[in-house]
Amino acid sequence: MPERVAVEARRDSLLLNLGPSHPAMHGIIRVMVELQGEKILNAELEIGYLHRGFEKTCEAKTYFNLLPYTDRLNYVSPLINNLAYAMTMEKMLGLAVPERAQAIRVLMSELSRVSDHLTALGAMAMETGAFTVFLYMMKAREYLWDVIEWTTGARMTTSYIRIGGVRADLEPGYRERVALAVKETRQVLKDVHGLLDGNKIFLNRTRDVGVISREDAVSYGWTGPCLRSTGVYYDVRKARPYLIYDRLSFEVPLGSRGDNFDRYLVRMLEMEQSLRIIEQVTAALPPGPARTGTGVEPAEAIARSRRKREPRPIRLSPTLEGSEADLYPGLVAQGAGFAVPPKEETYTSMEGLISHFLFFMKGRGLHPPPGEVYASVEGGNGEVGFYIVSDGSDRPYRLHLRAPCFHLTAALEQMVRGALVADIIPTFGSLNMIGGELDR
């Protein structure tokens, strides 16, 4: 079946295919353009090359077990997707998350947001030729991922923010690590401002290119930095404050022209604001319960409890694999069965072991009442929302992701019409299309 562009094309124009496997297509999107010389007359996008059946897969898994799938949606800011899902489930179940867990969630969420913007702008700059900017931004991202890795155990796809709270507490040396990451990121941002803001080549490629009007942006359902670059003030963190955002002071940058340069600049300024939030949260983090007592390694605890039942409490060593029951009140909402049972129980008693397995296999405790809910957070690209319908069992009846970059990419065909072929690249780069979120 010929594509729409091919059917509508004039006789003397050239049809060009920027194919699915293309360095500047951020993953895979196929753009077919009809050209007259270098000017684009008509454009068409074909998506779906990364459709991995997320929504259908989630209908077959328990509410807890589908958490790793949410990481892989917007994979440059995975903690924000986890957060969106966890908040939707908490809204449905009516859980109250403890204060410390909320602060940790904000910290992780802002670290993810900064690394999302770094990746997006680095890739956009690389595709316009500024390879140095890409290398600098990846360097800064490594420091941020270091912080995330020391706390959650993984660099990218972490599954750290869970329903009811977070998985484990921050690691003991996090303040120094966060301070180093913030310092390095600020230095990189300063360098990149110097490299790109007044750069004639970059300005020529991005100023007044890929312009979209305010009404069109709203009509397309744009949210996030791209909408704010057209001048519309809508940020979910300010409009419907969640977690502890109403107590933090930060600004929301707005653009005016809705072109590529404004989208770039809005993201750069948002990164600075996110670093401010990170500093405030780190300074004001409510202290968690102190870890007391000497630690016992998990293998030792299992071996001991085989001989006779260990008297409580035992203290497992404070690493991620042995989560202590005394940290749980600060990290996880209270109530039975919303979080993985503490490891003291699992390693030292048969009932604990059984409840551990029942939790993972049947999702015990996570049986929401029948009904539906929609909740959203501010992601790197805009409003990330989950719409979950439950029929009372331990698996979702329907789970739908409101993907922000689906709406952003829908506008690309209109934005490049009338521009030159080379303008597709910075325009597409400034939208920050993430394949996992677009195609689900």
Binding site: Y69, Y75, L135, M138, E142, R155
Partner: protein, 156 residues
Amino acid sequence: MKGAFITTRFEHVLGWARKYSLFQYPFITACCGIEYMSTACAHYDLDRFGAGLTRFSPRQADMLLVVGTITHKLAPVLKTVYDQMTEPKWVIAFGTCAVSGGIYNNYSVVQGADRIIPVDIYIPGCPPRPETVLDGLIKLQEKIQNGRPEWRWLKT
């Protein structure tokens, strides 16, 4: 006998030259692409192994890195790209989705890139740490060094 000595020396030199100048074509689809970017950039450098230059055309590349999930819609594209590469070529399956379909086993995901194209090195991980990727690259370099190219016109 002497012919065999010369060809083995020559194969040794050829293997050495090929393994330290790999031109890669990163066929990036999903989340592993972000770890690929990390591996290729300044922190965990791919360039010090000689594999730093990404040739964005399959005709100029000799190593295909299948990074990320392959869906049924994308499979013909992967096959076309593989066919467009010239011999000698090697394929690395990067990430568990390319190795075996990963956590996705449903109507739209191909259970591994090796259902479509032959794969030389499998790098598991979701996503694999950059050190794992470099380990896989070194294994590929050993394979290139020790493998025998086909000498169809000189049989000894």
